[in-house]
């Protein structure tokens, strides 16, 4: 198959992140009858954010299930179904609502394989939009990367572009462990070019491996999800000034690919982390701690620096909201500070 597709020249498709997740789920639903999707509005409404558009029409009531507004209940039901041999995709309309169900994610899903001494696997995917959106205020804007990334037994992924989104959702569904997929609502409508590999039904992005989106020599900039795009924008601006940033897209929060980050820091001697979540006890804090503990520390010419969301509940007014998330100018400022420019 691979040889044939290499011979045939296919034009590079433009696929939005939404379409990519939809494709990934569709392909996995087709491939394995045990896969099913449940959540609020996923079936007849086509998904609150239209991510599951067309799936109910194609697969029907048995495999695409609308739930009542009962996060704790349906997350538990999904975990139980996984224990009994099915492969559920449990959608949280946003991860803010997953807080109601977090006991089922952590205590019933994440810890069970360990507690049972390897007898009871839980092959489940929890997915949905995570983090800040636009004007949805404090209760609908929290980033859960650090909370879920904290827990052994879980895998946590955070796609940025369409290839990430399709490849990671497929890997997550095929994984025999509980996987949290942190999507981003503001990215759903953004189109990206799809390579010919990404168009294949067996295209997988491995969990636990970061991707270097842009090579550079002066500084390592590490990020996940939507801020990866901001980092690339910052890199473009800085390139005109002769500063070449190496931009790393983490793709996976847990297990973290610290080796890729370390190898880059050894090369560039400078590190800036960028995330949408709050600063305290966050993803960037973890990266910095691990860099200090590892071989890359001795190659740092300056302290590692974090760019994060502001340490406040998300405000509503646009000027306040804009300044509560990392902007391109904030990333550029942090990079220049680190490089002492």
């Amino acid at each position: 198959m691979a040889a044939v597709s290499g011979l045939v020249r296919r034009p590079l498709e433009q696929v939005t992140v939404r379409e990519a997740i939809n494709q990934g789920m569709d392909e996995e639903l087709e491939r394995d009858e045990k896969v099913f999707l449940l959540g609020e509005e996923v079936a007849q409404y086509d998904g609150a954010y239209k991510v599951s558009r067309g799936l109910w029409k194609k697969y029907g009531d048995k495999r695409i299930i609308d739930t009542p507004i009962s996060e704790m209940g349906f997350a538990g039901i999904a975990v139980g179904a996984a224990m009994a041999g099915l492969r559920p995709i449990c959608e949280f309309m946003t991860f803010n609502f997953s807080m109601q169900a977090i006991d089922q994610v952590i205590n019933s899903a994440a810890k069970t394989y360990y507690m049972s001494g390897g007898l009871q696997p839980v092959p489940i995917v929890f997915r949905g939009p995570n983090g800040a959106s636009a004007g949805v205020a404090a209760q609908h804007s929290q980033c859960f990367a650090a909370w879920y990334g904290h827990c052994p037994g879980l895998k946590v992924v955070s796609p940025w572009n369409s290839e990430d989104a399709k490849g990671l959702i497929k890997s997550a569904i095929r994984d025999n462990n509980p996987v949290v997929v942190l999507e981003n609502e503001l990215m759903y409508g953004v189109p990206f070019e799809f390579s010919s590999e990404a168009q294949s039904k067996d295209f997988l992005v491995p969990i636990g491996k970061a991707k270097i989106e842009r090579q550079g020599t002066h500084i390592t900039v590490v990020s996940h999800s939507r801020p990866v795009g901001h980092c690339l924008e910052a890199a473009t601006v800085l390139s005109k000034e002769g500063i070449e940033c190496e931009v790393i897209n983490m793709r996976t929060i847990r297990p973290m690919d610290i080796e890729t980050i370390e190898a880059s820091v050894v090369k560039t001697n400078h590190l800036v982390t960028v995330e949408g979540g709050w600063p305290q006890f966050g993803v960037g804090a973890e990266i910095c701690a691990r860099i200090m503990e590892g071989p890359a520390f001795n190659f740092l010419d300056a302290p590692a620096v974090r760019v994060t969301g502001a340490d406040v509940p998300m405000p509503y007014a646009k000027i306040l909201e804009d300044n509560s998330v990392p902007q391109v100018k904030d990333i550029i400022f942090a990079i220049k500070k680190t490089l002492n420019i």
């Binding site: 209940g73 538990g76 009994a84 099915l86 019933s108 049972s116 001494g117 037994g153 462990n177």
Partner: protein
Amino acid sequence: MEEKSWERQQASRVLVASRSFANDATFEIKKCDLHRLEEGPPVTTVLTREDGLRYYRMMQTVRRMELKADQLYKQKIIRGFCHLCDGQEACCVGLEAGINPTDHLITAYRAHGFTFTRGLSVREILAELTGRRGGCAKGKGGSMHMYAKNFYGGNGIVGAQVPLGAGIALACKYFGKDEVCLTLYGDGAANQGQIFEAYNMAALWKLPCIFICENNRYGMGTSVERAAASTDYYKRGDFIPGLRVDGMDILCVREATRFAAAYCRSGKGPILMELQTYRYHGHSMSDPGVSYRTREEIQEVRSKSDPIMLLKDRMVNSNLASVEELKEIDVEVRKEIEDAAQFATADPEPPLEELGHHIYSSDPPFEVRGANQWIKFKSIS
């Protein structure tokens, strides 16, 4: 797999004794209170000698196993939490008698009895309690986290097991294999919100889920009257039909379970059973169990409603068994428990190298961090 030599003994006992004992007897059992049901389980049932001997042995095994656990805990060989179910033997043995091994069962933390009736040996259970490598979870889980085929624990978070059970029932329906899931919770857990979420979805989607409230009158130290605005737990499912069952009579439990399982298998959706039962021990080993109830109450239940005594009296009075042969079973059970306790005490703890194992399923080995960055454990699936 444990050698079931007692099965051969059973068979020979039945054969040799068949000349002097009845093969079966019919008993009257208490009528169940019904909620949204026209008819309930039958009020008489036939007990065969073979079944009776088996139920007796199983209940006695659970009873002695729990008492042994009490002893080991007081000797500090068992640590942490230990929630014992002596007094409630008719529930675990009766439920198992009413279903097939291919059906599914999930319960909360008072789970040792169910772990046994679902098929694990006393050895593996006691060794898990003592945290040894021969434990059913390799010492990784302890009292509240034991698993077996079609038995999903052993769950520590009160109420969380109920949506899990509804999910297992969803899988039963999805696979179309005519199986049901028994989803147990206590009178304390019955007030958890997520249980009502599970009731709603189970009824909406007609899941083959038997919700079972094991009402032993106390949620830890809080009596049912102090915890619930309605203590009619069999009615709390509202739109879900319910039965209130005498949980101290194993035959009552068996018949009610058969009835409930048939209801679910017919595709009518979930059903709820309240088993009225009693625990002799306190909530856990750290609770003497007499600050919120009287010793007189405990003694009254022991003398009038003990499930093992009730079965024994029935069998002896109907000539299904003799006092002597039941005593023989007692002796065999005691020996089995003693041997298991020996094993559980002598077996070594799991090797330290296994600390990091079983984080993920089906993955290549990786490293897990220990107490500092220089301590690393290998993690194997």
